[in-house]
Amino acid sequence: MEERRDIEIDELIARCLSHELRPGEGEQLERWLAEDEEHVRYFTRCRNLHDLYSPAFPPEGIDEKKAYRQVDARVRGRSLRRRRWTTVAAAVVGGLALGMGWWLSRQAEVTPQVQVVQRVEQQAVPQGIVLELAEGQVIALDSLREGEGAYVGMSALRDEDAIAYAQGDSVETEVWHTWIVPRGKTFFLTLGDGTRVWMNSESTIRFPMAFRGGERRVCIEGEAYLEVAHDASRPFRVELQGGEVTVLGTAFNVRSYQGEGEQVTLVEGKVQVLAAKEELVLAPGEQAAWEGDGGMPVKRLVNPALYCSWYEGKWLFENGKLEDIMALVARRYDLQVEWETETLKNVRFSGEIRHSEQVEDVLRLVELADDISFEVEGQKIRVKYLR
């Protein structure tokens, strides 16, 4: 079956696959391929092996668990279905390999651009996620081994950057856990009742290991996206710094960073927001927003994807201010932003950015969409006009 191959042909194929063909060899190879279907098959097999031997990117770098969570989130949250905006832009495409969805266009100006992102080697700064126990004991997530259950008196399973608490009421007393997610990190939790929580950077969640009694109560500072397990008999309450959300079973985003006001965005179901003694009931697509402690909540209609897509690993902007965009970037990658001039803060962008490992990937997009440049030095980003 396997006829003996010409070494010459093998070498030719090898050179073709590593893009090192010499003049005239391309035609030679094509003639050989045209001779016999078996030749094509042989070539295909070679290419297959070559692809496996030198993949476009390292296989270890593919995080399938994270990918599954993102896909699962999309599959469940139907209203959050990804919208590609590529068609919106009158794209000016360079003759280069470029990314779908990896573009930003400046809204105010005339020429939106699609551009290339090149991977620059610089890792997002690792900072630890920690668990704080009621007694004040602090345990680093990294010190918990993957797949390990039943540590520190609880039954939970670690799975890379995620923890799943066991369902059921195995715990006798009410033990509270506090997870602290620093700048530069995100985290995923499954609570004892099956509720799923995506924690954004610089955020904290406090909850009992097992919910007992007539309600389920958690406290959140910072930002989180929740998919609450349905349980009509035990309402789910989220305490924010300046308000409270009551839920029966739904998906929504809360944002409550110190000094940045409070926001509750509903994706599915129904929630009740309580702030400054004012009660608001939200329907899907509605958002309640208010100023920190004591502000009156106001209801408005929004595109939830703009507020919630972070948990799917990307940001969406619709005419977003650069100042706000940079605040997100700074928090996600644990950086400080410096502005050359104040006017830069008001430049506006629309588009989608995936959270890449490298902050440079994100910044390049913004740079290429406009005459803005970034200088990253250690933990600082300086935003300047390109000259």
Binding site: A14, R45, P59, I62, A67, V93, V117
Partner: protein
Amino acid sequence: MNTQMTAKPEIEPQKTKEQEEWLRLKEGDREAFAAIFHQYYKDLVLYAGTFISHQAEAEDVVQDFFVKLWTEREHISAVKSVKPFLLTAVKHACLNALRGNGIKLKYGDVGVMAEECVTRETEDYILYSELNERLQEALKLLTPMQRQCFEMSRMQGVKQTEVAQRLGVSLRTVELRLAEALKVLKEELKEYLVLVVIFFLY
């Protein structure tokens, strides 16, 4: 359409399990969906990487595909084998994505693939995990010294003189063990990977 099948004589027990999973997926079983996802995600992303050389984009395409697979699960047909179906679908998704953006095909210069070969290509395609599994199995047959020499020199790209230094043996010994290792591997992987020789073992 291509009717030729590269049927292998033995019945793989995996296959029936896979077909069952596929049917359960059709019926809306999330666990079956998760199982298929976990089994194929990495391989499909690497396959997509042969068309789209940016990882995030490749992952995007494969993730979009899985979302579509779920939302349109009722309309998917029963398949003899899941792998070629997934590969073909991902390939089409990649090509569409590329068309939409004007990205260059990695092998655009060798436009010789007939429509017929495309199907066959996906049927015959060896996945990264399959190759890896076979290689790991074959590596078990080597002696520790043969294996160390092979792994260092072929998989980690360490120079033979350095391998000798690190292992505290002569260069000649490294050469010999390596040659032995290659002989075993060629023999072991022969029927499965006709051409491993060029890239892996050469």
